[in-house]
Subunit: 331 residues, 2 copies
């Protein structure tokens, strides 16, 4: 139970969350919102939660936590080729929450929601009895039947990723081992870039249309490229990946140059929130061009091959590696 | 991180949750599901979470916990006059979860979902780092524009409730003070009935059509009749309620006969999950008849009046009471 100096749940909602409410949400004064897809469209539904001490640090800025909670869900919607329409929020607060924290959280949430064109439609606020937990259900829409599924890759398809891979994993390492030799060699701007990628997912909403038009299968990279690629391909298909083609930021390149073993963290670390997809070879250039026109770089990193077992990565040293430990798991 | 003897998150989903998946959910093998309302319908979205130690007892049977987590959301959908279509589940597990618990939870969830015609569409499984927390986003549908809103009561409308009020609050008291004199006088079957109402919400889905056709405003009673009625009426409207007309079960009648002060727990306790609504006087009999035809009893307990301030309850002893402490709050 909140102490007497704190506002009621209704008061908190009216003050901090009602300003984020979208059409159909009745100003968050009701228990439910309405939503209808545009004619000729399906709704696309996804839900992901983040927990303090597991998916983020409890001491992270509350605006950053809000951005991550929304961003990891926007990333799923983008990878399905969909456009966001709105979200519901379950906010479970630890006993030591403060109104300052909540104000910062709501501000970050509002900024991220506005940026994505994705208003708040409803939700619930509860005590967690433990760490903070934020669960978001995100609703997007796609033209009827056009959702891009995870398990539809074909042998011979090229494997593509947006943006750069591994930055968030290195950003997390920086948080945990700031004094590591590889970190000492990075200038402050590059360190800040890595730290920012860990804190703030950049859901590739701008690539959704190109993915929908050209990808045979897609998912977002949240649990590490190697493991997520294995998950996407499933049984009967595997892949050969040219590690040298995996797109790295300048910061990640320098980190791997200083400590080559970091390439494993890059390929298996989590929290990239890039789109991983497969594209028929004859569509690759059109896909790349359309994504580029939307401001998103796409790299082709390998090819879907027949067979089982984890994808094989051709490493810079000429060796072939598999990552059988699989994906990083938050669970 | 789950110990080595435990299945992966994917393995748990495939084993326990994939059998509950509905059309559009791709067997829960993807990050998102599709859903489209029937032609001429809006989707209705709601989200509510329950937390161990706050909304239920950690030692409750896992099947009961699942039924409650789904039921509190189905209740919101029914009160809006909507029919359930599917749900997303965020399951945050404490560190000491067991696979037996999960199996029981999934079995209860599946039974409740099947009963409601409401399949699983997606979700997330995480460690809570504290008590178990279950957040459900429920999606229903109503004919376009037909959602019954909370704040639309008119002066002169009759105030109605489905079923019986106060059983769950008394069931909770029984859990907390089994040796109370009023409890000692109840026979075991009546005690079991109260305990069951606390454990297992009975969302009034069968009344949704009658509510949609006849109610001017509606919400479910989750935080106590007195407080929820005040919330529903909002500013400029209040109500006069005949406490003698508030429908009580046999168990609640006997409990209140043994200890008249319990009427306050009945009127202000939480977890009823009945529908509270307002109906124009000329529609009352049609509403009652249609709800009765669907198997749901409706009682008219008062009238919406002009004015501000909390609803006034005419008590059995002739006094008039208000419950300014407001609703019970789980927050």
């Amino acid at each position: 139970m909140a102490g007497p100096a704190r506002a009621s749940e209704e008061g908190l909602i009216a003050r901090y969350f009602a300003p984020l409410a979208g059409p159909g949400a009745d100003g968050l004064r009701d228990d439910a919102a309405t939503l209808t897809p545009a004619p000729g469209h399906d709704l696309v539904l996804t839900a992901d939660a983040v927990v303090a001490g597991i998916h983020f640090f409890a001491e992270d800025p509350p605006a950053s936590i809000a951005r991550k909670a929304l961003g990891v869900n926007l990333s799923d919607i983008a990878a399905k080729g969909a456009v966001p329409r709105g979200f519901l929020l379950t906010l479970a607060l630890p006993d030591d929450w403060t109104e300052d924290w909540l104000a910062g959280f709501a501000a970050g949430l509002g900024a991220a929601a506005t940026e994505a064109g994705c208003p708040l439609l409803g939700g619930d606020t509860v005590r967690s009895g433990g760490p903070a937990l934020i669960s978001v259900t995100l609703i997007g829409e796609v033209p009827t039947g056009a959702i891009v599924r995870r398990h539809a890759a074909r042998v011979g398809d090229r494997i593509c990723v947006t943006g750069t891979i591994g930055d968030a994993a290195l950003g997390l390492r920086l948080r945990l081992e700031a004094a590591a030799p590889w970190a000492a060699g990075l200038d402050p701007a590059l360190k800040a870039a890595l730290a920012d990628r860990y804190l703030h997912p950049r859901p590739r909403l701008a690539a959704a249309r190109a993915v929908r038009r050209h990808a045979s299968a897609a998912m977002d990279v949240s649990d590490g490229l190697a493991g997520d690629l294995a998950k996407m391909l499933g049984a009967g298909r595997t892949a050969r990946v040219a590690t040298s083609e995996v797109p790295l930021s300048e910061a990640a390149r320098r980190a791997c140059a200083a400590e080559p073993a970091l390439i494993e963290a890059v390929l298996t670390g989590g929290d990239d929130y890039e789109i991983l997809c497969t594209v028929a070879p004859e569509r690759l250039e059109a896909f790349r061009a359309e994504a580029a026109a939307a401001g998103i770089a796409v790299a082709a990193i390998g090819t879907v091959t027949p067979g089982d077992g984890p994808p094989r990565f051709d490493m810079p040293d000429g060796a072939e590696r598999v990552f059988t430990a699989g994906a990083f798991s938050h669970f």
